[in-house]
Symmetry: C2
Subunit: 319 residues, 2 copies
Amino acid sequence: MTATDPGDPAALVDAAVAGDRGALARLLTVVERGGAGAHAVGRLTYASAGSAYTVGITGAPGAGKSTLTGSLVAHVRRLGQRLAVLAIDPSSPYTGGAILGDRVRMAEHALDDGVFIRSMATRGHLGGLSLSAPEAIRVLDAAGFAWVIVETVGVGQVEVEVAGAADTTVVVVNPGWGDSVQANKAGLMEVADVFVVNKADRPGTDATVHDLESMMDLTHSEGWRPPVVRTVATIGEGSPDLWAAVDGHRQHLEASGGLVERRKARVRAELDLIVAQRLRARAESLLGKTNRITVQSEVTAGRLDPWSAADQLLAPLDP
Amino acid sequence: MTATDPGDPAALVDAAVAGDRGALARLLTVVERGGAGAHAVGRLTYASAGSAYTVGITGAPGAGKSTLTGSLVAHVRRLGQRLAVLAIDPSSPYTGGAILGDRVRMAEHALDDGVFIRSMATRGHLGGLSLSAPEAIRVLDAAGFAWVIVETVGVGQVEVEVAGAADTTVVVVNPGWGDSVQANKAGLMEVADVFVVNKADRPGTDATVHDLESMMDLTHSEGWRPPVVRTVATIGEGSPDLWAAVDGHRQHLEASGGLVERRKARVRAELDLIVAQRLRARAESLLGKTNRITVQSEVTAGRLDPWSAADQLLAPLDP
């Protein structure tokens, strides 16, 4: 099998379910690449998925998300449960490569079958991560991981969407540099199910915890109120508390029926994205390359505005 | 005119060009809202745009981008040039509101006709910011601002795309917390035309400058090499150096023909987005709401996978 050949998806899925980590890695590459191969994998894993519980971890660059994820991995392994980590890295369309740190982290757990760590990029296709992340989670689910941690690199729109689509979303801030206010600006307050103040051995921790609690006093009058947990991820301090908070949220969701509703909303959004992507592909083939290039030249020369150009390009589709 | 009535776009454009700031603000609201009103404005401003030079400012939350932008505003006004600031905030689909800080910042320049500051959110439409940001820039261009600074809130995919689509892109990092490495992870290294180490009165500044220069030794063998500028934005220190670096990049682009190429690539990308958005709207109306809801229920009940559901929904479009 060559690097670009997805092979037989059904055989790969069977092998991954049986514990073949190489097959699992190849499946995730197929999913990441998108297109027909990814859809074949999606069809195969959809029915069997639904057992894994997903935890999103997001926050500003430098907040210590990778270190925190590492400390959770250690904690969950001590509890004897299998887990996978999916590191979402939408910036990679620019480089097209996996993160070096990913391989370093994976090496730590190379002999532990109960952990699987993988980073995922978009490979440049629009809506890519929002589509490929749930597919990748289903693959990991089918491979028998009880927990899937989805860790984001940035805090932009796509990352917030992906992390916010987890069953439980953890938002990581730091003490002392207005991080709680920045979290609010970045839309993180509204996706958070659990807050973590990481680097809680630094000055300003109490003030940051207080800021978060004050913001929640304003916004959370009923239902689940996100707890604020303090951690020092570099030494694993607070990881059990954080995991207990995640588990508390899980119990709340399961008891309230919220989990079923969240998952339904997610799959509806996924269906919308799939339909949009297919329509786009179909339309691009209909438009025709030659006409497109001619119209583009008129626009870049300033002789035609982009809206009138779109009218011209789409005219052949009218009945 | 009511708050939701875009009014007569041509009259608004004429008024904004003549210096009416209320008309300008209303035009930007029309653009932000998207749809037919935005396209009408786009058609009206396309031919007359192209004089303004755009500067993107991006970097991690907390890096001091707003403060740095403020110090640049003060510097450019001392030079006697008119400029506008567009603060890109893609997180706002969650809140749908403008940033309070925006109004605070605007108040500082309330009596200065040479400055216009405005934040812009997506209002929830897909591809929204990537479409509305260039339209907004054209409106500000037509209104006679020589410079448009595009400042982002986060460093996600959308923000990096929008900031990276400026004529000159400034990437802001801080000393001492591995920010340069994080910038690399977030894809910022590849869009940067100028680097700023802000908060350069803090320990670790030399190390961060050194990190950035080392990374560039590896990646920039020819062409423009981004200079690294030190600033302390809170006291305006380094703003003249930063502006000189921006101007240096502008001269390089103008001399090399790179500016024309950048702008052509941008308008091609914009045309693609407009076509994709129109196709989506057209397809959604074709699909029909009732059928969609039925198929959705099958998917959320687990009886149908999303890919087969997409097949069913799209079948009526086949000839």
